[in-house]
């Protein structure tokens, strides 16, 4: 089954680009995956370009859906390299994790990763869950931190369906900050729902360019309800040391502002992930 599947993807995806019978490279290609999330795809593209620039053969298996789909694929060796987020991945492997600060989350993650997978150096760039309100709502109610919400009643929280059950969801809001909310699953249209006033507060990824574009206010989280979630490359044993060093350089170079700026280019200039990643790597001197 797996063989057929691989064969199918390979033939379908490369049919337009490559002719049958092209010279095979001696080494196995490094298979890079990404989530079905444009920002994640840009990071994966950056990994791919850096490796290709150094002479590696790369097989891009992008937009693989959610963790349920691709984590088993990482474990089985169908995918070798994947841009991930420390906090969310830690929760996937350990639902009861308590670490929240970036470094603690990273070390908890390295401990929680199954054999055969390793976390490379984490980046300063992060893309984590955060609670946001509109500028108007923040001004009216004098909001800067999540705790300020405790005084309000009738709050509606918007987010993906799974937020209802997450530790930082409605239950966590109450136990950490005494904030009582009614949960409203707003799916892929959470930011729109917030702006339209269907909900008062929403869970938005911190690198979402619309936070800046729409002037949303991200509420501070002094008690550490959310886990820090920095960009971290997850590699299988098939990725050699030289490749790891190259990817680590990408992580070191990527700042939080860089990631947001790339996301802004994606939604505003509507450029392809490949072009955005290539121009960023070039500006950092990581590719020629």
């Amino acid at each position: 089954m797996k063989k057929t599947a691989k064969l199918l993807i390979a033939s379908a995806m490369t049919a337009v680009l490559a002719l049958a019978g092209c010279a095979q490279t001696p080494s196995e290609p490094i298979v890079i995956g990404s989530q079905a999330y444009y920002s994640n795809e840009i990071i994966a593209e950056a990994y791919a370009l850096v490796l290709e620039d150094a002479g590696y053969t790369v097989d891009r298996q992008f937009s693989l859906g959610q963790r349920d789909v691709y984590v088993p694929a990482l474990l089985s060796g169908e995918v070798d390299l994947f841009p991930e987020y420390t906090g969310n991945l830690l929760q996937y492997f350990d639902a009861t994790a308590t670490a929240t600060a970036a470094d603690d989350v990273y070390s908890a993650l390295t401990a929680a990763l199954p054999a055969g997978l390793s976390a490379l150096e984490m980046s300063g760039a992060s893309d984590q869950d955060s609670y946001n309100v509109t500028a108007n709502f923040a001004a009216q109610n004098n909001l800067t931190s999540i705790g300020d919400l405790a005084a309000l009643t009738g709050l509606k929280l918007g987010g993906a369906p799974e937020l209802a059950e997450r530790p930082y969801g409605p239950t966590g809001l109450d136990s950490f900050y005494g904030v009582k909310v009614e949960f409203e699953a707003t799916g892929d249209a959470t930011v729109e729902a917030l702006v339209a006033g269907l909900v008062n507060m929403a869970n938005v990824y911190s690198a979402d360019p619309r936070i800046q574009q729409l002037g949303l206010v991200t509420l501070a989280d002094p008690l550490g309800l959310f886990l820090a979630s920095n960009v971290v490359p997850i590699a299988s044993d098939a990725v050699d040391q030289k490749a790891r060093d190259l990817i680590n350089k990408v992580s070191q170079a990527m700042t939080a502002q860089d990631l947001i700026a790339m996301n802004v280019r994606s939604v505003q200039e509507q450029l392809s992930p490949n072009q955005i990643a290539r121009e960023w790597l070039f500006s950092k001197g990581l590719i020629k």
């Binding site: 089954m1 797996k2 057929t4 599947a5 691989k6 199918l8 993807i9 033939s11 379908a12 995806m13 049919a15 337009v16 680009l17 079905a36 999330y37 444009y38 298996q61 992008f62 937009s63 693989l64 859906g65 349920d68 789909v69 691709y70 088993p72 694929a73 089985s76 169908e78 995918v79 892929d188 994606s266 939604v267 509507q270 392809s272």
Partner: protein, 213 residues
């Protein structure tokens, strides 16, 4: 137009995958459905009918995501989507195939038996040709639904034209969503036309009769 012109190669690549992921289930599922419809023991017809209409009611997204858990296929790659779509094609084609075979005139069967055709010859030379109009009609329905249903595979990681819906909706690029809609539409119409032409070519007698009426 700007987004589309810049990404035309990308859309073409997704279209290729989309075609693969739709055509394999269509061909495979139809063959299985025809065989099933023709050779199923009469005792099992009622229960197969029931089972297939229940299967038809399972939402595609649910089937895509539960297949690896249920039958142990790989999570990655189009296998799950292909299997799930094949099941839907079987469910849909089974009914049209049974209709098509039941409309073969009894006189034709009688003459065939009188000529001494064995069961296999009877099937190939008499029943199948006479059932073609019905089969083609069913196949056209299955083709259009499969091509549009395949796009939901993008939710579980099959990078076909459905990707344009998810990505376009996330990035608020209306043109990307529209491009996906149009591309699927064009594929479906082209496929429909192709099947219609093949059906016409396979039944020359039907055309002659139509003219004479």
């Amino acid at each position: 137009m700007e987004w589309f012109l810049k990404n035309i190669d990308f859309v073409l690549g997704l279209t290729t995958t989309h075609l693969w992921v739709s055509l394999i289930p269509l061909v495979l599922g139809s063959l299985l459905a025809v065989v099933l419809a023709k050779f199923i023991p009469r005792k099992l017809v009622a229960s197969t009918n029931g089972l297939l209409s229940a299967v038809y009611a399972v939402p595609s997204l649910a089937l895509f995501v539960t297949l690896p858990v249920l039958i142990g296929t790989s999570y990655l790659g189009p296998t799950n989507v292909i299997i799930a779509l094949t099941i839907y094609v079987i469910a849909s084609m089974f009914f049209s195939a049974r209709d098509a075979f039941s409309q073969v005139p009894e006189s034709a069967n009688f003459i065939a038996r009188a000529q001494g055709l064995n069961r296999w010859q009877h099937f190939i030379h008499v029943e199948l040709p006479l059932a073609i109009p019905g089969l083609v009609a069913g196949f056209r329905v299955a083709a259009a639904s499969t091509v549009s249903m395949a796009s939901i595979g993008a939710v579980v990681g099959v990078r076909n034209l459905g990707y344009l819906f998810l990505d376009g909706f996330q990035r608020k690029i209306a043109e990307e969503v529209t491009a996906g809609l149009l591309a699927i539409f064009v594929i479906a119409i082209a496929l429909d036309l192709l099947i219609w032409l093949i059906g016409r070519a396979l039944t020359p007698w039907a055309r002659k009769r139509a003219v004479s009426v």
